[in-house]
Amino acid sequence: MKKEVPLAITFISGLLLVLALFIPHKPFGNLEEIFNDWFIIVSGFTLLLGIDSLLGYNFHKIKRKDKDAPFALILILSFFITLAWGIIEILRTPEHNPFSPSSTFSLYFYNYIFIPLQSTMFAILSFFIASAAYRAFRAKEINSALLLVSAVLVMLGRVPLGQDAAPYVISVIFLIFAVYFYAESTGITETRTKLIYILVALIFVALIYPLGWVYFKKHIPEFADWLMNIPQMAGKRGIMIGIALGGIAMSIRIILGIERTYMK
């Protein structure tokens, strides 16, 4: 009984929503809207489980006298202070909304604590991304070289200085490729393959002026846009179709009770 009822609830709620899409008449017509409201209410309350877990974990740290106990206390205090501030503003403001522009919560907490913390936290990610890029973007293999080139071109195309910097950056990238192919050719004994490698190296040198100093100097923003709108779109579309198919398959498994991990 303890397992069958939840499975039945999952089956009925999921199936009714699917039926509501195909039968847009009473009693199914506005079912999606009603269920959506219920879903928002109930899923809002599930947040309490997360809060319980967060506070419980930090209370436990204090109890254990862990070395991070003072920080755990700071976390708990900042949680309750923020919550109390918000509740006071709910009671105090005429709109009963701490997020209204006139509330002190919005004016001070949001603008001077929340926004600086959040945006700086995301801003420092740029350094870690750059460090990850240093490790990932090796021009040794064709695929990682493509990753490097497309990232550099998009970055150059999106900044005002990019147009001026593009010829130099493109020259350096092409020279690196030329040197790489030439260095590889020295280790090859077969004459035909060796000649192909040297030819590729020469093509890279030959392309520096027409591509770097003529085309990209003028058209790097348009090229970056093309890269974002055409090849990037194709790859993204393939990924999105894959996500949709996977999500639909998973949803069917959940509704039919094949996937039951949420019951644990």
Binding site: F45, L117, Q118, A123, M155, R158, Q232, G238, S251
Partner: protein, 214 residues
């Protein structure tokens, strides 16, 4: 005066987070824990003000008849979640979780089909020859459509693991990887730009609002 004090508070938190670039230190840990604690409370307030209160409390006040009494169901399901903290009755919380999972699955089928699958497939049905005003334009427009159509197909084929990637499937999945690399590279560059613009924003705040140097 109040603004000056709050600007100093914001500058302190900004510098505390930036100090992590040197190494992990108590100042960073302090700011990090304040951020986690306050954003958890922020989310609770947000959910109450924009979701639970208008849908449940205002719903009870404003709705009439059957619609009003039907709100007892989500109220009960919400209360069942809290019963998770009372051990003998904790099994009732499964009902609420089952409801949210069922709803998410139902919305997953309808939402993903309507919002993702059909529009993306529809947008990929493009003509493979487009006549432009000039020969160059014709070549460019045709090439763009060919890249989008075949790029999408080859990307999907790369994720097809039911057969070994040999022969035609092998070649097409290799092209798929190439398209994926271009995609990831371009998205990566775009993400870096977004993060850098956030960093510029924070540095501008320090130099302009706090130190008043620029």
């Amino acid at each position: 005066m109040t603004t000056i004090i709050w600007t100093w508070v914001a500058a302190f938190f900004t510098l505390a987070i930036l100090s992590f670039l040197y190494k992990d230190n108590p100042l960073y840990k302090f700011a990090e824990h304040v951020y986690v604690g306050s954003s958890a409370a922020f989310t609770v307030l947000y959910v109450w003000v924009f979701d639970a209160y208008p849908k449940l409390v205002i719903g009870f006040k404003e709705k009439a008849g059957m619609q009003k009494y039907m709100l007892v169901i989500p109220l009960l399901l919400s209360l069942f979640i809290i019963l998770r903290f009372i051990r003998p009755l904790s099994w009732l919380s499964r009902w609420s979780i089952a409801f949210t999972v069922g709803m998410a699955a139902g919305l997953g089928i309808t939402g993903l089909t309507q919002g993702f699958l059909v529009p993306q497939v529809q947008a990929s049905f493009l003509p493979l020859f487009v006549r432009g005003e000039t020969v160059g334009q014709t070549v460019l427009l045709t090439m763009n459509n060919v890249i989008i159509v075949f790029g999408t197909i080859f990307t999907i084929l790369y994720f097809y693991f039911s057969r070994e990637h040999k022969g035609v499937l092998g070649v097409s999945s290799k092209v798929g990887v190439t398209i994926l690399m271009l995609t990831f590279g371009a998205s990566f560059g775009y993400t870096i730009m977004a993060r850098i613009s956030l960093l510029i924003g924070r540095i501008y705040f320090l130099l302009h609002n706090w130190l008043r140097l620029v």
